[in-house]
Amino acid sequence: MSLRIIKSGILDTVQDGGRQGYAHMGIPPSGAMDPFSASLANAILGKELTDPVIEIHFPAPVIEVTEPCVLSVTGADFSATINGLSLPLCQPALVTAGGLVEFKKPVSGARGYIGVYPGLKLEAWLNSYSTNLQAKAGGWEGQALRNGDSIQLERYTGTDRVFKLLPWNSRQQLIKDRIRIVKGPEWDLLDENMQQHFLNDRYTIGRLSNRMGFRLKGTPLIASSTEEMLSSAVLAGTIQLLPDGDPVVLMADHPTTGGYPRIASVIGADLGLLAQLIPGSALQFSIVDLEQAEQLFLSQNRYLEELKALSDAEMRLFLKG
């Protein structure tokens, strides 16, 4: 009972809501780069938002389903197909034994998520199924999926065994290039002129961007003090100012501490939007206050929980046949 990787993609990893509670050992949460889309992949299946999913990039994997399960695809649109038939984003599909999941071409976005109902059978590491590629632990044996890997599935108990799209879906987040931020602890190291540059200039996501961080190219920013900062806590979304003037946005596989000024941070609700921008994309920052940032995240969370409840009800009806 498994998902078998016929051909692995450029980077496919198991991720979940993140591994919390171990930062004091230098272990970051890892987890989905686009937490909203990962949660969405679970919500549309009626599952816990933080359950493990497979994060894919393009070129994406070719996956064979050896036993029935219900799949969802969210995040980037890589033109998913099942046995050649188009699988729309954010709509569950019952996939039968022998079903072949493919991703034909990149249409939009950088990271896709495959949700699986009932679920993936994996061993947790430190209470999470997220893959920590630096520690080589967690997720699928601490590494990216390779050809021939077979991930066990929980047993599907529905009676229907015919491939079909299930009759409910949800909307996807639009790709946006305006990313909201809040000020960071070292925001005032930028003088007003530099602060304005940061908020008004367009930045391009550099080639060297990956799960650890996104390097941004644009007008170099100059801090008013070059005094070395003591290493201190950083999180996914923290925007550091590097000595050469480039901002770097730390992402899911960030080191837990850093010694560069933390001028701002991307709000939790927009991390996923940023994660969907591919290298070479342009973006602009816009500032919000803390309360707005918090409310945006909470309202996203409410939406996901409501979707989960509705989908769970639909799933139960469907399984009854």
Binding site: H24, Q134, K136, G142, G184, A233, G237, T238, T256, S265
Partner: protein
């Protein structure tokens, strides 16, 4: 008389706060960080999901959904900050701290492992033996873990051997390499790119995902290095 630590609390991100205790590396400041870290860790607040101690500050990461239920008005950030202030009032210098662990770590300073030792000796006008002696003489404090899982920043290194990072980092520093950067000493728990000046290697496993405690070092540990021969290293 109860003394509250001097501190300030500010937002770090939209779901975390930073408690600052000072601006320089000192044992005294770090004791304050550790005190609050241990207290919050022990109290196991359900809405606090991560604690990130460092030299002079403590990052507190909280779950927004759970923290929204905290009493009070204003932003969730300010509600968590007020809660932390209440907890900090109970953290006094008299409060018993957990016993510090004292760890003795074997290091082989043989030339095959001590990639930068000779250069360092030249720069400091000391012999490699002098440097080894000075490195092993001190009892170091683990200030924080960061950069990599299990990478401990330890200090404070004696001025005579303190040295800046290499101007050109190595693309690969072998696992177990013991290095110096500024007034800190540390050990790479895994193969990694890195800029620290490497003076030896330890056979000790610093990061083991399968262990109950995956990281050999924890913040607050006291560390003493002692030299071993290449033979002892190979047979550790």
């Amino acid at each position: 008389m109860a003394q509250t630590p001097d501190y300030s609390i500010e937002p770090l991100t939209d779901r975390s706060l930073l408690i600052r205790f000072g601006s320089r590396i000192s044992r005294k400041t770090h004791e304050k960080v550790l005190r609050v870290f241990y207290v919050l860790q022990a109290e196991k607040h359900p809405f606090i999901v991560d604690l990130v101690p460092s030299y002079a500050s403590l990052g507190v990461v909280y779950d927004l959904v759970k923290s929204a239920e905290l009493p009070g008005e204003g932003s969730i950030s300010s509600k968590v900050a007020r809660m932390l202030e209440e907890r900090l009032l109970t953290v006094t210098d008299n409060r018993k701290m957990p016993q510090k662990r004292r760890l003795e770590v074997p290091v082989c300073y043989d030339t095959c492992f001590a990639l930068d030792l000779e250069d360092l000796a030249g720069k400091k006008q000391l012999t490699p033996q002098d440097i080894i002696g000075i490195h092993c003489a001190k009892l170091y404090d683990v200030y924080l873990l960061g950069f990599l899982p299990g990478f401990a920043y330890m200090g404070i290194v004696d001025d005579r051997i303190a040295t800046p990072r290499r101007s050109t980092p190595r693309t690969l520093v072998p696992r177990g390499s013991v290095g110096i950067a500024g007034n800190q000493t540390g050990i790479y728990p895994s193969d990694s790119p890195g800029g620290w000046q490497i003076i030896g290697r330890t056979p000790v496993e610093l990061f083991n995902p399968s262990a109950d405690q995956p990281s050999f070092f924890l913040p607050g540990d006291e560390v003493k290095f002692y030299p071993i021969t290449k033979h002892e290293f190979e047979n550790y």
